[in-house]
């Protein structure tokens, strides 16, 4: 059995982890509370920007702290709307076809994302993926604590989780595919036999060229990437 592992943000959808978070913050049970939590998140944004550059895992922890105090009910009630408003509209043309093509090959298709599980369930169902490995908020007494449950899905940890997933299912990673847009996912791409860069950032684009990995553009190809590809 083979599987295809897909990073989500920037790979299958043009949004990132921040967009659904902003949606949740903007849709608190009253506008004043929305204003308050958004202001608090804005104040924390320089720290998040720094963490994004240095440590993807730390970035996820800081970002999801914004969910602290939200009720479990509200998280789930808003999930459909968040999916329709934020994620569904941002799916790249061709993403669904690509997932379907992998399914047609008999692959399990697994979304591997730092995004939250209740959104990934909906995305997986919409695209026809068979599963997801995603982050989960810690819930205590029906309220989010603002912490993530371990393991945190980010960077090199994605590779470990994929290995574990494959081992549990007796799946040969040499026959598997992985798709990502980001250099931070090189560990994930490196554990499978068929890595593929999708809408790659410049560093990943360069690496993909060096190792002759396939490069796919589901979105509009940036002019700079196009220029780089012409350089022999």
């Amino acid at each position: 059995m083979a599987a295809s592992f897909f990073d989500v943000d920037g790979t299958l959808v043009r949004t990132n982890l921040v967009h659904p978070t902003v949606f949740y913050l903007a849709n608190q049970h009253n506008p004043l509370r929305s204003l308050g939590v958004m202001a608090r998140a804005a104040l924390g944004s320089p720290r998040m920007a720094l963490a994004e550059m240095l440590d993807r895992r730390r970035f996820n922890e800081l970002l999801f702290a914004a969910y602290k105090g939200m009720s479990e009910d509200r998280l789930h009630i808003l999930a459909d709307e968040a999916f329709d408003t934020v994620l569904k509209r941002a799916i790249y043309p061709g993403a669904r076809d690509l997932v379907q093509r992998c399914r047609a090959q008999g692959h399990d298709v697994v979304l591997v994302s730092g995004a939250l599980d209740f959104l990934m369930v909906r995305l997986a169902e919409h695209l026809g993926a068979t599963g997801h490995i995603s982050n989960r908020l810690e819930i205590k007494d029906h309220y989010a604590t603002g912490k993530l449950l371990r393991p945190i899905v980010a960077g090199p940890e994605k590779a470990r989780l994929v290995r574990e997933w494959a081992r549990e299912r007796d799946c040969d990673l040499g026959d598997c595919f992985a798709y990502s847009d980001s250099y931070s996912d090189v560990p994930l791409l490196s554990v499978v036999g068929h890595p593929c860069a999708v809408n790659p950032d410049l560093r990943l684009s360069k690496l993909a060229r060096t190792y002759a990995w396939p490069v796919i553009h589901l979105g509009k190809r940036p002019a700079l990437a196009e220029l780089m590809e012409k350089i022999p």
Partner: protein
């Protein structure tokens, strides 16, 4: 290495008189003597000067056939006086759905100087359609599993006016992997599945605009291959069929053509198709490089100096600059024929023109065939001729440039010049890299590849996505490139490559290497002492019509 700059001071043809003589009945077959000048040989995008032994038979391309004086008039005449069909205007009615399919960038080589003859045909056809109230018109570049053409490349072929009016909504590339874009036409009595572009199948009239460079092009291949997908190609693009092509440049002796013809006849029965075929001469090089067509002994002093300067410059330039020099300059082909109407009647005329341009009568086969491998093939327009394409040029196209019997004797030696650089265009030839570095090290046996590797490789979702949305060849294509050399591989005893910049690529391809032509010849003589040697002086294209 004995490859040396041209001309050697002691043997200037202008001082010593003719160095070669024509043998047999044709002026394009020249036998070299001791005083003959070295021959100009392409080694990728470099030009070498090579001393060949006295007695070597050198096969030159025919001079370019005269071009038509008024191409537009010839197009109008062909549309109004079609072969085996009503005139195009009689097939039109207001409101009908018309699809025009157009040959892709693999034809001609190099691309034709503007206006491309397809632009001229399309201009006349579109005017005619408009005059008859036909405005539901879509144009499809018939790429089959070739890479999608870029906007600029399409603009070059169809011209600015048509491009602006139709691209990209009504002028686009065929997509053989669009799950909703293909439609089953049927199957032949041999079980060959014919599945074509849905738009073409659903049209009221399909017009095919072809540019026929070599006898392998055109005819039933236009629609049945150009607009098909993997399911249909499997019927004939496989090692079993390719082994039975003697040669694929001679449709009468080609199992490939036979299979395609069966499928094409089914297409003609089912669809309403009007074929327009055009032929061009072999004027590949324009004035400054025109001397490359000629016998080196007939070069003027200026031409010898030009060659020397060119080969020196090329040897000093980086590879991308050399590629730009040759590939960015379109060729001044002249249009030699325009035929329209029913497929087989039209193609018969086209083949006559093609053979008239390329065939050179040759008496007897050779023990050793020598040739340069140039920088271009149908599959690397605007990109690098990678190692797999070197193979397709050597054991594929070069070997197949004959009618009758192969120029090389069974078990003979093919000596080619090429650096065999381990370099690929990372986008156009993305699946080739894995093929060369992962499949070839496991097997060179085409049958084994076909049975054990092809299907899985050809359905790789990442490569298919690159084919559909990028500009990559389909992942089945590298396998076809290997099969394309299959008849040659079965027939040729040894391939020796001169000037390779590495050993492992030739080894992967099953080639031996030599540091110089003399060394290669020595190796060939081990197999057959005092071999009869023939050089194919290409490009431009020449086909051997071998008898005796």
């Amino acid at each position: 290495m004995s490859i040396r700059a041209y001309p050697p001071p002691s043997s200037r043809p202008s001082e010593l008189g003719p160095r070669s003589r024509s043998r047999g009945s044709h002026p394009c077959v020249v036998t070299l003597d001791k005083k003959s000048a070295p021959r100009a040989v392409f080694s990728g995008d470099e030009l070498l000067s090579v001393d060949l032994p006295a007695g070597t038979r050198c096969l030159y391309p025919r001079p370019p056939v005269d071009a038509l004086k008024d191409v537009d008039a010839a197009i109008r005449y062909a549309l109004n006086h079609p072969l085996g069909s009503d005139p195009l205007h009689a097939k039109l009615r207001p409101g009908m759905k018309v699809v025009i399919a157009i040959d892709d960038i693999s034809l001609p080589l190099p691309p034709m100087r503007r206006p491309d003859v397809r632009q001229r045909v399309l201009t006349v056809v579109l005017e005619l359609l408009a005059d008859h109230g036909v405005d539901d018109v879509e144009m499809i570049i018939a790429t089959s599993l070739h890479r999608r053409m870029t906007g600029d490349e399409v603009r070059h072929v169809v011209g600015d006016r048509i491009f602006k009016a139709y691209w990209p909504d009504r002028l686009y590339n065929h997509d053989a992997e669009d799950p909703r874009g293909m439609k089953l036409v049927g199957a032949t009595d041999q079980g060959e599945v014919v599945e074509l572009n849905r738009k073409a199948v659903d049209s009221d009239l399909l017009i095919y605009v072809n540019l026929n460079l070599v006898p392998m092009d055109g005819g039933h291949k236009s629609v049945a291959v150009g607009l098909c997908g993997y399911k249909s190609l499997r019927a004939h693009h496989n090692p079993r069929v390719m082994r039975d092509c003697w040669s694929y440049m001679d449709p009468a002796g080609s199992a490939l053509a036979t299979s395609v013809d069966r499928m094409g006849r089914l297409v003609e029965k089912t669809l309403n198709v009007f074929h327009i075929e055009t032929t061009v001469n072999n004027r590949m090089f324009d004035r400054p490089l025109e001397f490359l067509h000629k016998n080196e002994d007939d070069w003027s002093g200026t031409e010898r100096a030009s060659f020397k300067a060119l080969s020196f410059t090329l040897s000093r330039l980086p590879q991308p600059a050399r590629q730009a020099i040759f590939q960015r300059v379109p060729s001044p082909y002249g249009v030699t024929g325009v035929f329209a109407g029913a497929c087989e009647a039209v193609h018969e005329k086209t083949l006559e023109r093609c053979f008239a341009q390329y065939l050179v009568p040759v008496e007897g086969q050779a023990d050793v065939v020598v040739s340069g491998i140039p920088y271009i093939s149908p599959y690397n327009v605007n990109s690098f001729l990678n190692p797999l394409l070197v193979q397709v040029m050597a054991q594929g196209y070069l070997f197949n440039l004959y009618r009758g019997k192969p120029l090389l004797k069974k078990g003979g030696t093919l000596i080619v010049f090429h650096p065999c650089t381990d370099q690929f265009d990372k986008e156009h030839h993305a699946p080739y890299v894995e093929f060369v570095h992962d499949v070839l090290p496991q097997t060179r046996d085409a049958m084994e590849m076909h049975h054990n590797f092809e299907e899985k490789f050809a359905s790789n979702p990442a490569y298919i996505e690159m084919y559909r949305r990028g500009h990559a060849y389909h992942p089945a294509h590298p396998f076809y490139m290997w099969y394309w050399g299959e008849a040659g591989r079965q027939h040729i005893g040894r391939v020796i490559v001169v000037g390779a910049d590495n050993d492992y690529i030739p080894k992967l391809l099953g080639y031996e290497t030599a540091g110089s032509f003399q060394e290669a010849l020595g190796m060939a003589s081990d197999s057959k002492p005092n071999p009869e040697i023939t050089m194919m002086h290409i490009p431009p294209i020449v086909m051997a019509d071998v008898s005796g």
